[in-house]
Protein backbone atom coordinates (compact mmCIF):
# COMPACT_ATOMS: atom_id res chain seq x y z
CA UNK A 1 0.00 0.00 0.00
CA UNK A 2 0.98 3.54 -0.53
CA UNK A 3 0.80 6.60 1.61
CA UNK A 4 0.96 10.04 0.23
CA UNK A 5 0.12 12.71 2.71
CA UNK A 6 -0.59 16.19 1.42
CA UNK A 7 1.82 18.99 2.09
CA UNK A 8 -0.35 22.02 2.68
CA UNK A 9 2.32 24.68 2.38
CA UNK A 10 3.74 23.30 -0.82
CA UNK A 11 0.34 22.57 -2.31
CA UNK A 12 -0.91 26.04 -1.43
CA UNK A 13 2.15 27.52 -3.09
CA UNK A 14 1.46 25.45 -6.20
CA UNK A 15 -2.18 26.47 -6.25
CA UNK A 16 -1.26 30.14 -5.85
CA UNK A 17 1.02 29.81 -8.83
CA UNK A 18 -1.65 28.04 -10.87
CA UNK A 19 -4.23 30.64 -9.96
CA UNK A 20 -1.90 33.44 -10.93
CA UNK A 21 -1.33 31.86 -14.33
CA UNK A 22 -5.00 31.30 -15.08
CA UNK A 23 -6.02 33.04 -18.28
CA UNK A 24 -8.99 35.35 -18.57
CA UNK A 25 -12.44 34.26 -19.72
CA UNK A 26 -11.91 36.39 -22.80
CA UNK A 27 -8.80 34.41 -23.61
CA UNK A 28 -10.78 31.19 -23.27
CA UNK A 29 -13.57 32.57 -25.45
CA UNK A 30 -11.08 33.39 -28.17
CA UNK A 31 -9.47 29.98 -27.83
CA UNK A 32 -12.83 28.24 -28.13
CA UNK A 33 -13.64 30.26 -31.27
CA UNK A 34 -10.27 29.29 -32.67
CA UNK A 35 -10.87 25.62 -31.97
CA UNK A 36 -14.36 25.73 -33.50
CA UNK A 37 -12.80 27.31 -36.57
CA UNK A 38 -10.13 24.60 -36.69
CA UNK A 39 -12.84 21.95 -36.48
CA UNK A 40 -14.57 23.60 -39.41
CA UNK A 41 -11.31 23.72 -41.35
CA UNK A 42 -10.87 20.02 -40.83
CA UNK A 43 -14.38 19.53 -42.14
CA UNK A 44 -15.00 17.26 -39.22
CA UNK A 45 -18.60 18.33 -39.11
CA UNK A 46 -19.36 18.18 -42.82
CA UNK A 47 -22.20 15.79 -42.25
CA UNK A 48 -23.30 17.49 -39.09
CA UNK A 49 -25.51 20.43 -38.45
CA UNK A 50 -23.95 23.83 -38.73
CA UNK A 51 -21.57 24.60 -35.92
CA UNK A 52 -22.82 26.97 -33.34
CA UNK A 53 -20.76 29.65 -31.77
CA UNK A 54 -19.71 29.37 -28.20
CA UNK A 55 -21.69 32.52 -27.56
CA UNK A 56 -24.90 30.71 -28.34
CA UNK A 57 -24.28 28.49 -25.38
CA UNK A 58 -25.42 29.60 -21.99
CA UNK A 59 -22.47 30.42 -19.85
CA UNK A 60 -21.81 29.18 -16.40
CA UNK A 61 -18.71 29.07 -14.32
CA UNK A 62 -16.47 26.12 -14.92
CA UNK A 63 -15.65 25.09 -11.44
CA UNK A 64 -12.34 23.68 -10.39
CA UNK A 65 -12.87 21.01 -7.79
CA UNK A 66 -11.01 21.20 -4.57
CA UNK A 67 -8.20 18.70 -4.37
CA UNK A 68 -9.43 15.62 -2.61
CA UNK A 69 -6.52 15.08 -0.31
CA UNK A 70 -6.60 11.43 0.31
CA UNK A 71 -5.05 10.06 3.43
CA UNK A 72 -4.49 6.55 2.40
CA UNK A 73 -2.60 4.09 4.44
CA UNK A 74 0.62 4.16 2.82
CA UNK A 75 3.85 3.40 1.34
CA UNK A 76 5.76 6.23 2.84
CA UNK A 77 7.42 3.60 4.89
CA UNK A 78 8.78 2.12 1.74
CA UNK A 79 9.95 5.46 0.48
CA UNK A 80 11.49 6.37 3.80
CA UNK A 81 13.46 3.21 3.62
CA UNK A 82 14.91 4.39 0.39
CA UNK A 83 16.16 7.52 2.04
CA UNK A 84 18.13 5.36 4.41
CA UNK A 85 19.83 3.39 1.72
CA UNK A 86 23.52 3.00 2.01
CA UNK A 87 25.44 2.78 -1.25
CA UNK A 88 28.43 0.50 -0.83
CA UNK A 89 31.19 0.12 -3.36
CA UNK A 90 32.26 -3.49 -3.36
CA UNK A 91 35.66 -4.98 -3.75
CA UNK A 92 37.24 -5.66 -7.07
CA UNK A 93 36.24 -9.28 -6.76
CA UNK A 94 32.57 -8.45 -7.07
CA UNK A 95 33.20 -6.04 -9.88
CA UNK A 96 35.08 -8.76 -11.65
CA UNK A 97 32.20 -11.20 -11.36
CA UNK A 98 29.77 -8.88 -13.00
CA UNK A 99 32.19 -7.25 -15.40
CA UNK A 100 33.02 -10.61 -16.82
CA UNK A 101 29.40 -10.86 -17.76
CA UNK A 102 29.29 -7.38 -19.22
CA UNK A 103 31.94 -8.58 -21.62
CA UNK A 104 29.15 -10.60 -23.10
CA UNK A 105 27.87 -7.51 -24.90
CA UNK A 106 27.27 -8.25 -28.50
CA UNK A 107 26.32 -11.87 -28.04
CA UNK A 108 22.79 -11.33 -26.92
CA UNK A 109 19.96 -13.59 -27.88
CA UNK A 110 17.30 -11.31 -26.47
CA UNK A 111 13.73 -12.17 -27.28
CA UNK A 112 12.74 -9.00 -29.02
CA UNK A 113 10.08 -8.57 -31.61
CA UNK A 114 11.33 -8.90 -35.15
CA UNK A 115 10.58 -5.31 -35.95
CA UNK A 116 12.85 -4.22 -33.12
CA UNK A 117 15.84 -6.33 -34.03
CA UNK A 118 16.89 -3.93 -36.74
CA UNK A 119 16.65 -0.95 -34.37
CA UNK A 120 18.17 -2.14 -31.11
CA UNK A 121 21.82 -3.22 -31.08
CA UNK A 122 22.63 -6.52 -29.43
CA UNK A 123 24.68 -4.96 -26.67
CA UNK A 124 21.65 -2.98 -25.51
CA UNK A 125 19.69 -6.16 -24.88
CA UNK A 126 19.77 -8.54 -21.97
CA UNK A 127 20.36 -12.05 -23.21
CA UNK A 128 19.15 -15.19 -21.49
CA UNK A 129 22.69 -16.09 -20.53
CA UNK A 130 23.29 -12.65 -19.05
CA UNK A 131 20.07 -12.89 -17.09
CA UNK A 132 21.03 -16.29 -15.73
CA UNK A 133 24.42 -14.90 -14.70
CA UNK A 134 22.78 -11.99 -12.97
CA UNK A 135 20.59 -14.32 -11.00
CA UNK A 136 23.71 -16.16 -9.86
CA UNK A 137 25.35 -12.90 -8.76
CA UNK A 138 22.14 -11.87 -7.07
CA UNK A 139 21.97 -15.16 -5.24
CA UNK A 140 25.56 -14.73 -4.06
CA UNK A 141 24.90 -11.21 -2.88
CA UNK A 142 21.83 -12.35 -1.01
CA UNK A 143 24.04 -14.84 0.77
CA UNK A 144 26.41 -12.07 1.82
CA UNK A 145 24.00 -9.29 2.70
CA UNK A 146 20.75 -11.07 3.49
CA UNK A 147 17.79 -8.81 4.03
CA UNK A 148 19.93 -5.72 3.87
CA UNK A 149 20.34 -6.19 0.15
CA UNK A 150 18.31 -3.64 -1.75
CA UNK A 151 19.69 -3.33 -5.25
CA UNK A 152 22.74 -4.07 -7.38
CA UNK A 153 24.12 -1.81 -10.07
CA UNK A 154 27.12 -1.64 -12.31
CA UNK A 155 28.14 1.31 -14.41
CA UNK A 156 31.16 1.27 -16.69
CA UNK A 157 33.51 1.67 -13.77
CA UNK A 158 31.59 1.05 -10.58
CA UNK A 159 29.89 -1.90 -9.03
CA UNK A 160 27.54 -0.85 -6.29
CA UNK A 161 25.33 -2.58 -3.83
CA UNK A 162 22.46 -0.68 -2.31
CA UNK A 163 21.93 -1.72 1.30
CA UNK A 164 19.37 -0.84 3.86
CA UNK A 165 20.67 -0.14 7.30
CA UNK A 166 20.20 -2.99 9.69
CA UNK A 167 17.22 -1.53 11.49
CA UNK A 168 15.20 -1.07 8.34
CA UNK A 169 15.95 -4.35 6.65
CA UNK A 170 12.66 -6.02 6.09
CA UNK A 171 10.76 -8.44 3.96
CA UNK A 172 10.84 -5.83 1.21
CA UNK A 173 14.50 -6.49 0.59
CA UNK A 174 15.77 -8.28 -2.49
CA UNK A 175 16.22 -11.38 -0.41
CA UNK A 176 12.53 -11.82 0.17
CA UNK A 177 11.48 -14.79 -1.84
CA UNK A 178 8.23 -13.86 -3.55
CA UNK A 179 8.83 -10.31 -4.78
CA UNK A 180 9.42 -9.70 -8.46
CA UNK A 181 13.01 -8.84 -9.28
CA UNK A 182 13.75 -6.74 -12.29
CA UNK A 183 16.91 -6.28 -14.34
CA UNK A 184 17.28 -3.07 -16.30
CA UNK A 185 20.05 -2.13 -18.72
CA UNK A 186 20.41 1.51 -19.71
CA UNK A 187 22.93 2.58 -22.34
CA UNK A 188 23.50 6.18 -23.36
CA UNK A 189 25.30 6.84 -26.63
CA UNK A 190 26.28 10.14 -28.15
CA UNK A 191 27.69 11.64 -31.30
CA UNK A 192 28.73 15.14 -32.22
CA UNK A 193 26.78 15.18 -35.45
CA UNK A 194 24.65 12.88 -37.54
CA UNK A 195 27.70 12.10 -39.67
CA UNK A 196 29.64 10.66 -36.75
CA UNK A 197 29.52 7.18 -35.32
CA UNK A 198 27.64 6.60 -32.11
CA UNK A 199 29.88 6.00 -29.14
CA UNK A 200 28.90 4.79 -25.73
CA UNK A 201 28.83 7.58 -23.16
CA UNK A 202 27.47 5.69 -20.19
CA UNK A 203 25.81 2.46 -19.25
CA UNK A 204 24.39 0.78 -16.23
CA UNK A 205 22.91 -2.58 -15.35
CA UNK A 206 20.59 -2.62 -12.36
CA UNK A 207 18.80 -5.33 -10.46
CA UNK A 208 16.09 -4.18 -8.12
CA UNK A 209 12.76 -5.24 -6.84
CA UNK A 210 9.48 -4.04 -8.28
CA UNK A 211 8.43 -0.68 -6.84
CA UNK A 212 11.81 0.01 -5.28
CA UNK A 213 13.69 3.23 -5.93
CA UNK A 214 17.29 2.92 -7.04
CA UNK A 215 19.39 6.00 -6.53
CA UNK A 216 22.90 5.96 -7.85
CA UNK A 217 24.20 9.09 -6.23
CA UNK A 218 27.21 10.97 -7.45
CA UNK A 219 30.21 10.54 -5.24
CA UNK A 220 31.61 13.81 -6.42
CA UNK A 221 30.56 16.59 -8.70
CA UNK A 222 31.93 14.92 -11.80
CA UNK A 223 30.06 11.69 -11.64
CA UNK A 224 26.80 10.52 -13.00
CA UNK A 225 23.55 10.13 -11.16
CA UNK A 226 20.57 8.00 -11.87
CA UNK A 227 17.26 7.56 -10.16
CA UNK A 228 15.16 4.68 -11.36
CA UNK A 229 11.94 3.15 -10.26
CA UNK A 230 10.41 0.11 -11.90
CA UNK A 231 7.04 -1.42 -11.27
CA UNK A 232 5.53 -4.61 -12.64
CA UNK A 233 1.97 -3.91 -13.74
CA UNK A 234 -0.79 -6.48 -13.30
CA UNK A 235 -0.65 -7.37 -16.99
CA UNK A 236 3.06 -8.19 -16.77
CA UNK A 237 4.26 -4.99 -18.41
CA UNK A 238 6.93 -3.04 -16.56
CA UNK A 239 6.59 0.69 -15.93
CA UNK A 240 9.92 2.44 -15.56
CA UNK A 241 10.55 6.02 -14.54
CA UNK A 242 14.17 7.06 -14.73
CA UNK A 243 16.21 10.20 -14.60
CA UNK A 244 19.80 10.34 -15.77
CA UNK A 245 22.40 13.04 -15.63
CA UNK A 246 26.09 13.40 -15.93
CA UNK A 247 28.33 16.38 -16.15
CA UNK A 248 30.91 17.27 -18.73
CA UNK A 249 33.64 15.17 -17.20
CA UNK A 250 31.38 12.77 -15.54
CA UNK A 251 31.20 9.67 -17.61
CA UNK A 252 32.62 6.98 -15.40
CA UNK A 253 34.68 4.45 -17.16
CA UNK A 254 35.37 6.52 -20.21
CA UNK A 255 38.49 8.50 -20.83
CA UNK A 256 36.94 10.88 -23.28
CA UNK A 257 35.00 13.90 -22.24
CA UNK A 258 31.35 13.90 -23.13
CA UNK A 259 28.82 16.66 -23.27
CA UNK A 260 26.62 17.20 -20.23
CA UNK A 261 23.49 15.11 -20.33
CA UNK A 262 20.27 15.19 -18.41
CA UNK A 263 17.07 13.45 -19.30
CA UNK A 264 14.02 11.82 -17.80
CA UNK A 265 12.14 8.91 -19.25
CA UNK A 266 8.94 7.08 -18.51
CA UNK A 267 8.18 3.93 -20.39
CA UNK A 268 5.92 0.96 -20.10
CA UNK A 269 7.77 -1.97 -21.61
CA UNK A 270 7.23 -5.65 -22.13
CA UNK A 271 9.42 -8.14 -20.39
CA UNK A 272 12.68 -8.49 -22.38
CA UNK A 273 11.79 -5.51 -24.52
CA UNK A 274 14.14 -2.66 -25.36
CA UNK A 275 13.22 0.93 -25.94
CA UNK A 276 15.11 3.66 -27.71
CA UNK A 277 14.96 7.41 -27.15
CA UNK A 278 16.63 10.01 -29.33
CA UNK A 279 17.52 13.39 -27.90
CA UNK A 280 19.24 16.52 -29.09
CA UNK A 281 21.61 18.13 -26.67
CA UNK A 282 23.55 21.34 -26.55
CA UNK A 283 26.02 22.23 -29.30
CA UNK A 284 24.52 19.81 -31.76
CA UNK A 285 25.35 16.71 -29.74
CA UNK A 286 22.87 13.90 -30.30
CA UNK A 287 22.04 11.21 -27.80
CA UNK A 288 20.27 7.93 -27.97
CA UNK A 289 19.27 5.99 -24.89
CA UNK A 290 18.49 2.28 -24.91
CA UNK A 291 16.63 0.77 -22.02
CA UNK A 292 15.97 -2.94 -21.68
CA UNK A 293 13.96 -4.55 -18.94
CA UNK A 294 13.57 -8.15 -17.83
CA UNK A 295 11.70 -9.74 -14.97
CA UNK A 296 14.22 -12.08 -13.39
CA UNK A 297 12.19 -14.44 -11.28
CA UNK A 298 9.13 -14.73 -13.44
CA UNK A 299 10.23 -16.45 -16.62
CA UNK A 300 13.96 -16.84 -16.31
CA UNK A 301 15.83 -19.70 -14.83
Amino acid sequence: MNENLPDDRLDNMLRDWAEERTVSSEHLDNLQDRIVEAIGDENLSSDRTVATSRRQVATSAVSRPEPPYTRRPISLRRVSLVSRLVGVTLLALLAFIWSAQLADYGHSTGQLADDERAEIPDYARLSESQLRERMIVLSEMKGVFGKQLHWLAETDSRFEVGLRDGSSASDESLSSGDALEIAVRVIVEERSSSRDEWRRAWSVDVISQSEEVVELAAKDADQSTMTMWAYVLPDGMVAIDSELSFSENGNPGTTEKAAPFRAAFSNVQKDRQSSEELLNGANGVEYRVFQTVAILNKKVG
Binding site: A18, R64, S75, V213, R262, A264, L279, A282
Partner: protein
Protein backbone atom coordinates in the same frame (compact mmCIF):
# COMPACT_ATOMS: atom_id res chain seq x y z
CA UNK B 1 -28.28 21.58 -23.04
CA UNK B 2 -26.62 23.17 -20.03
CA UNK B 3 -27.95 20.48 -17.72
CA UNK B 4 -27.41 17.59 -20.10
CA UNK B 5 -24.83 15.07 -18.84
CA UNK B 6 -21.61 14.69 -20.80
CA UNK B 7 -22.47 11.25 -22.08
CA UNK B 8 -25.80 12.38 -23.47
CA UNK B 9 -24.05 15.23 -25.24
CA UNK B 10 -21.70 12.71 -26.82
CA UNK B 11 -24.67 10.67 -27.98
CA UNK B 12 -26.36 13.76 -29.40
CA UNK B 13 -23.25 14.48 -31.44
CA UNK B 14 -22.75 10.90 -32.55
CA UNK B 15 -26.32 10.15 -33.54
CA UNK B 16 -27.72 13.51 -34.53
CA UNK B 17 -24.64 15.47 -35.46
CA UNK B 18 -25.45 18.11 -32.90
CA UNK B 19 -22.46 20.43 -33.03
CA UNK B 20 -23.92 22.45 -30.19
CA UNK B 21 -23.38 19.38 -28.02
CA UNK B 22 -19.67 19.60 -28.78
CA UNK B 23 -19.72 23.30 -28.04
CA UNK B 24 -21.27 22.62 -24.68
CA UNK B 25 -18.71 19.94 -23.87
CA UNK B 26 -15.96 22.32 -24.85
CA UNK B 27 -17.43 25.08 -22.72
CA UNK B 28 -17.49 22.75 -19.74
CA UNK B 29 -13.99 21.37 -20.09
CA UNK B 30 -11.95 23.97 -21.98
CA UNK B 31 -10.82 25.91 -18.94
CA UNK B 32 -9.63 22.87 -17.05
CA UNK B 33 -8.03 21.21 -20.04
CA UNK B 34 -6.22 24.41 -20.94
CA UNK B 35 -4.97 24.97 -17.39
CA UNK B 36 -3.80 21.35 -17.21
CA UNK B 37 -1.87 21.77 -20.43
CA UNK B 38 -0.40 25.08 -19.29
CA UNK B 39 0.75 23.59 -16.00
CA UNK B 40 2.59 20.99 -18.04
CA UNK B 41 4.14 23.16 -20.78
CA UNK B 42 4.46 26.54 -18.98
CA UNK B 43 3.94 28.65 -22.04
CA UNK B 44 0.67 30.37 -22.94
CA UNK B 45 1.02 30.17 -26.69
CA UNK B 46 2.06 26.53 -26.60
CA UNK B 47 -0.73 25.75 -24.14
CA UNK B 48 -3.29 27.21 -26.57
CA UNK B 49 -1.87 25.17 -29.45
CA UNK B 50 -1.80 21.93 -27.49
CA UNK B 51 -5.31 22.55 -26.13
CA UNK B 52 -6.59 22.98 -29.65
CA UNK B 53 -4.91 19.72 -30.64
CA UNK B 54 -6.52 18.00 -27.65
CA UNK B 55 -10.02 18.94 -28.75
CA UNK B 56 -9.36 18.11 -32.37
CA UNK B 57 -8.06 14.70 -31.36
CA UNK B 58 -11.01 14.18 -29.05
CA UNK B 59 -13.52 14.99 -31.77
CA UNK B 60 -11.69 12.83 -34.30
CA UNK B 61 -11.78 9.97 -31.82
CA UNK B 62 -15.17 10.55 -30.27
CA UNK B 63 -16.59 7.50 -32.05
CA UNK B 64 -14.17 5.37 -30.05
CA UNK B 65 -15.34 6.71 -26.71
CA UNK B 66 -16.95 3.97 -24.66
CA UNK B 67 -19.97 5.48 -22.96
CA UNK B 68 -19.56 3.10 -20.05
CA UNK B 69 -16.47 5.10 -19.10
CA UNK B 70 -16.38 8.62 -17.73
CA UNK B 71 -16.07 11.20 -20.48
CA UNK B 72 -13.89 13.45 -18.34
CA UNK B 73 -11.44 10.60 -17.71
CA UNK B 74 -11.29 9.87 -21.42
CA UNK B 75 -10.85 13.55 -22.31
CA UNK B 76 -8.06 14.04 -19.78
CA UNK B 77 -6.37 10.90 -21.05
CA UNK B 78 -6.39 12.52 -24.49
CA UNK B 79 -5.13 15.71 -22.85
CA UNK B 80 -2.20 14.07 -21.11
CA UNK B 81 -1.24 11.91 -24.09
CA UNK B 82 -1.30 14.91 -26.40
CA UNK B 83 0.74 16.92 -23.93
CA UNK B 84 3.32 14.18 -23.42
CA UNK B 85 3.66 13.84 -27.18
CA UNK B 86 4.19 17.56 -27.45
CA UNK B 87 6.77 17.60 -24.65
CA UNK B 88 8.57 14.74 -26.30
CA UNK B 89 8.75 16.62 -29.59
CA UNK B 90 9.90 19.72 -27.76
CA UNK B 91 12.60 17.79 -25.92
CA UNK B 92 14.07 16.77 -29.25
CA UNK B 93 14.71 20.35 -30.20
CA UNK B 94 18.02 21.72 -29.01
CA UNK B 95 18.07 22.45 -25.30
CA UNK B 96 20.67 23.80 -22.99
CA UNK B 97 21.58 21.17 -20.48
CA UNK B 98 23.57 23.76 -18.56
CA UNK B 99 20.48 25.69 -17.68
CA UNK B 100 19.82 25.41 -14.00
CA UNK B 101 17.21 26.68 -11.68
CA UNK B 102 17.62 30.08 -10.23
CA UNK B 103 19.05 29.94 -6.79
CA UNK B 104 16.16 30.96 -4.58
CA UNK B 105 18.51 32.28 -1.97
CA UNK B 106 19.98 34.85 -4.32
CA UNK B 107 17.25 35.63 -6.77
CA UNK B 108 14.85 37.28 -4.37
CA UNK B 109 14.76 41.00 -4.78
CA UNK B 110 15.32 42.95 -1.62
CA UNK B 111 12.60 45.34 -2.68
CA UNK B 112 9.72 45.45 -0.25
CA UNK B 113 7.36 45.53 -3.17
CA UNK B 114 5.10 42.59 -2.41
CA UNK B 115 3.98 42.23 -6.01
CA UNK B 116 7.56 41.96 -7.21
CA UNK B 117 8.36 39.34 -4.59
CA UNK B 118 5.22 37.43 -5.43
CA UNK B 119 6.09 37.50 -9.11
CA UNK B 120 9.55 36.19 -8.37
CA UNK B 121 8.16 33.44 -6.19
CA UNK B 122 5.75 32.52 -8.92
CA UNK B 123 8.60 32.29 -11.39
CA UNK B 124 10.57 30.08 -9.02
CA UNK B 125 7.60 27.80 -8.49
CA UNK B 126 7.13 27.53 -12.23
CA UNK B 127 10.80 26.78 -12.76
CA UNK B 128 10.72 24.14 -10.06
CA UNK B 129 7.64 22.47 -11.54
CA UNK B 130 9.26 22.60 -14.98
CA UNK B 131 12.30 20.77 -13.63
CA UNK B 132 10.22 17.69 -12.83
CA UNK B 133 10.15 14.92 -15.37
CA UNK B 134 6.94 14.96 -17.43
CA UNK B 135 5.40 12.02 -15.59
CA UNK B 136 6.18 13.39 -12.13
CA UNK B 137 4.86 16.74 -13.26
CA UNK B 138 1.76 15.09 -14.68
CA UNK B 139 0.95 13.38 -11.40
CA UNK B 140 1.45 16.59 -9.42
CA UNK B 141 -0.67 18.58 -11.86
CA UNK B 142 -3.50 16.08 -12.00
CA UNK B 143 -3.76 15.43 -8.27
CA UNK B 144 -2.43 18.51 -6.50
CA UNK B 145 -3.65 21.15 -8.94
CA UNK B 146 -6.53 19.69 -10.91
CA UNK B 147 -8.10 17.86 -8.02
CA UNK B 148 -8.23 14.37 -9.43
CA UNK B 149 -7.97 11.57 -6.92
CA UNK B 150 -4.91 9.30 -7.29
CA UNK B 151 -7.23 6.58 -8.57
CA UNK B 152 -8.67 8.90 -11.21
CA UNK B 153 -5.19 10.10 -12.15
CA UNK B 154 -4.11 6.48 -12.47
CA UNK B 155 -7.02 5.83 -14.80
CA UNK B 156 -6.09 8.86 -16.87
CA UNK B 157 -2.42 7.95 -17.01
CA UNK B 158 -3.03 4.27 -17.59
CA UNK B 159 -0.95 3.16 -14.62
CA UNK B 160 -1.57 1.88 -11.12
CA UNK B 161 -2.60 4.08 -8.21
CA UNK B 162 0.65 3.04 -6.51
CA UNK B 163 2.54 4.52 -9.42
CA UNK B 164 0.67 7.80 -9.06
CA UNK B 165 1.32 7.85 -5.31
CA UNK B 166 4.99 7.34 -5.90
CA UNK B 167 5.16 10.01 -8.56
CA UNK B 168 3.39 12.53 -6.32
CA UNK B 169 5.68 11.68 -3.44
CA UNK B 170 8.77 12.08 -5.59
CA UNK B 171 7.43 15.25 -7.19
CA UNK B 172 6.69 16.83 -3.83
CA UNK B 173 10.06 15.80 -2.45
CA UNK B 174 11.89 17.46 -5.32
CA UNK B 175 9.73 20.57 -5.23
CA UNK B 176 10.27 20.94 -1.49
CA UNK B 177 14.00 20.71 -2.01
CA UNK B 178 13.93 23.35 -4.74
CA UNK B 179 11.59 25.66 -2.87
CA UNK B 180 12.88 25.06 0.62
CA UNK B 181 13.78 28.72 1.13
CA UNK B 182 10.14 29.64 0.75
CA UNK B 183 8.76 26.74 2.71
CA UNK B 184 10.86 27.07 5.82
Amino acid sequence: MVNTPDKQLIELFRKNGRQDAIDELMRRHLSRVRSTVFQMVHNDSEADDVTQEVFLRAIRGVETFDCRAEFSTWLYRVTMNTTYSYLKRRSRSPVDFHSELNDPTTSADSSPDRAVLQAELSTEVETAVASLSPTLRGAVVLVCLQGFSPAEAADIEGCSADTIHWRIHEGRRKLKRLLKEHLS
